[in-house]
């Protein structure tokens, strides 16, 4: 009885501590939501204060983003959505093919290719950034969607993930499909790919989020404001003059809220997608 009571108190204590930690972790996001409802000029002058007059809360920042003032912002939004969705389609298509082949076939050079995948994973992109930037200039791709997407299309992390996933698929299915006269490509697209559903979902989220939040590379290759993605565009509003803070705050909220809503519905896939590296090799 006494140990039971003791455990109960420990349980309440730990749960309370976690509630506080969670509150601290979520505090910046809650602050942003509140900040977006406060007059932008106040934020500029006072910073974000714990004390504010609830009567002053207003939707004016959001009205501003939905007015002519916000046209540029929606242009960035469309760019981000287009780039992210095209990247998801392309990278899932190509990366799953490669990962599948590395897992399911025994062919000469397979191990070399897999080692190369792991090797690229360890080399920071920033080291290749300048030559790649030069290459984009030479190819005339500067300021295009393609330039933003190109380095992410055959993502080694996704190839790695698909390979690990495919290893667990039943190879007997391939044999029986062959006996039925299915081609190797038919086997992949009609039989095996449908079995890879959860891995497609996880990688769609990883690639989509990477692209949605990508910053340094788009900063290099995008030049005109009409081509900017959300992070690049928002960064241009982050000036010390604060003349666009209405857009900055409501725009930031509208950038992360859809992602958080998706997370609430597809938590499992977010978690497996964003913790790829932990997959055992």
């Amino acid at each position: 009885m006494t140990t039971e009571k003791k455990e109960k108190w420990v349980s309440i204590l730990i749960t309370t501590i976690f509630a506080i930690i969670t509150l601290i972790a979520l505090f910046p996001i809650i602050s942003l939501l509140i900040a977006s409802l406060r007059p932008a000029s106040d934020l500029m002058r006072e910073g974000l204060s714990l004390f504010f007059n609830p009567a002053e809360l207003t939707f004016s920042n959001y009205l501003s983003i939905f007015s002519d003032n916000g046209q540029q912002y929606w242009r960035w939004y469309i760019n981000s959505i287009l780039i992210s969705s095209m990247l998801i389609v392309l990278s899932l298509f190509f990366s799953s093919m490669v990962g599948y082949a590395l897992a399911m076939y025994n062919f000469k050079g397979r191990n070399v290719l897999f080692v190369l995948v792991l090797f690229i994973l360890m080399i920071p992109f920033e080291i290749l950034m300048l030559p790649l930037y030069q290459l984009m200039i030479t190819l005339g791709l500067i300021d295009s969607y393609l330039a933003v997407m190109l380095p992410l299309i055959v993502a080694p992390i996704a190839v790695f993930f698909f390979r690990q996933y495919c290893i667990g698929l039943p190879k007997e299915l391939m044999e029986s499909a062959r006996i039925d006269g299915c081609t190797e490509y038919g086997i992949f697209f009609k039989i095996m790919a449908p079995l890879m559903g959860p891995s497609f979902a996880a990688m769609a989220i990883l690639q989509g989020l990477t692209s949605w939040n990508n910053f340094l590379w788009p900063l290099l290759v995008l030049r005109s404001s009409d081509m900017f993605t959300l992070p690049i565009g928002l960064a241009t509003l982050l000036t010390p003059y604060g003349n666009n803070y209405e857009l900055l705050f409501s725009g930031s909220v509208l950038t992360i809220v859809p992602i958080i809503i998706l997370f609430l519905f597809f938590q499992r896939f977010f978690i497996s997608g964003l913790t790829v590296g932990g997959v055992k090799g």
């Binding site: 080291i127 081609t183 958080i260």
Partner: protein
């Protein structure tokens, strides 16, 4: 005899329209077709830029003309600005690795405990910061750590009787902001790595420890932590690599130029020299040195945590 053979070949012909298709769909060739996208991407977007980065680091790259200048770019690296960038990055790596290993381990152990209620809610909530882009996170942090007395951070300090701080203008507080921003964003992801690792710790080890009369703290240090070693190695390795790649956490606070370079990182220096100053050869040299540093530090780290030891 003869007619039957001809119908056989005919049937085969009907099935396989041409030799080329037969070849391309054969079991031997198909895997190579599947991996072609990777091979092309590897050659064009990895191997070529990799070689080019080395070559460029020995060149002066001007629009329309490049000249070989030997080790000049590397010699130019011996300057106070680069040292400052290297120092900032190293301090940042050190703190982010320590925080992003130690804190998630402890939080994961509690999240795994039967005594904690609402586990799923806490786990999901702690993960949410990972969904924000650094830019949006930076917008919030800049407001929270504003210079005025009425910004949240200074209000909290005021509550404890500490005078307000100009967060973005001091080298210690500037570093604090960058480390805090990174820790906030990555905490939830690392917790998940450790939680996954904890599922592999066998209950028998804890039962044995119970029989030996170990208290919870002893169990943590003698059972939990050693069992989590592979995850510790993994998380510290990615934290080191990500730390040396840091750029955005600095950019959101100061754009490309921070007062007295308090926020300058190695990648920030590549950006400044290679892109802003258009001195690509010099920028490439910084990149090559950065790669060597990451390589050396990773090896030292793996030795330090004993990744090469079999046990």
């Amino acid at each position: 005899m003869e007619p039957s053979t001809s119908t056989d070949t005919q049937r085969v012909r009907n099935k396989r329209p041409s030799k080329l298709t037969a070849f391309l769909t054969s079991r031997k060739i198909a895997p190579y077709v599947f991996v072609t996208p990777f091979v092309i991407s590897f050659l064009l977007l990895f191997l070529y830029p990799m070689i080019q980065a080395f070559v460029m680091s020995f060149q002066q790259v001007l629009p329309g003309q490049t000249t070989f200048i030997g080790f000049d770019n590397y010699e130019r690296l011996l300057n106070p600005t680069f040292y400052r960038a290297l120092l900032n990055t190293s301090v940042y790596v050190l703190f982010t690795v320590l925080i992003l290993v130690a804190a998630p381990v402890v939080l994961a152990v509690f999240l795994n405990s039967k005594l904690l209620k609402f586990k799923n809610f806490f786990r999901a909530s702690l993960f949410v910061p990972a969904l924000t882009s650094v830019i949006v996170a930076g917008v919030i942090f800049r407001m929270m750590f504003g210079e005025s007395d009425s910004a949240v951070a200074n209000e909290v300090l005021g509550f404890f009787g500490i005078s307000p701080i100009d967060w973005r203008y001091g080298s210690v507080s500037g570093m604090f902001l960058m480390v805090l921003l990174a820790s906030w964003r990555w905490m939830g992801v690392n917790i998940l790595y450790f939680l996954a690792g904890l599922q592999n710790v066998s209950d028998e080890l804890y039962e044995a420890a119970d029989i030996d009369g170990a208290n919870p703290i002893q169990k943590f240090f003698y059972v939990t932590l050693p069992s989590l070693k592979p995850v510790v190695i993994f998380v510290s390795t990615i934290s080191i690599i990500n730390g040396f790649r840091m750029f955005e956490e600095s950019f959101v606070f100061w754009q490309a130029n921070s007062p007295g370079n308090i926020g300058l990182t190695v990648v920030g220096y590549i950006y400044q020299e290679g892109i802003s100053q258009n001195d690509m050869g010099f920028g490439a040299a910084i990149g090559v040195v950065l790669m060597l540093i990451i390589f050396i530090v990773s090896i030292i780290q793996l030795k330090f945590v004993g990744a090469f030891k079999e046990d």
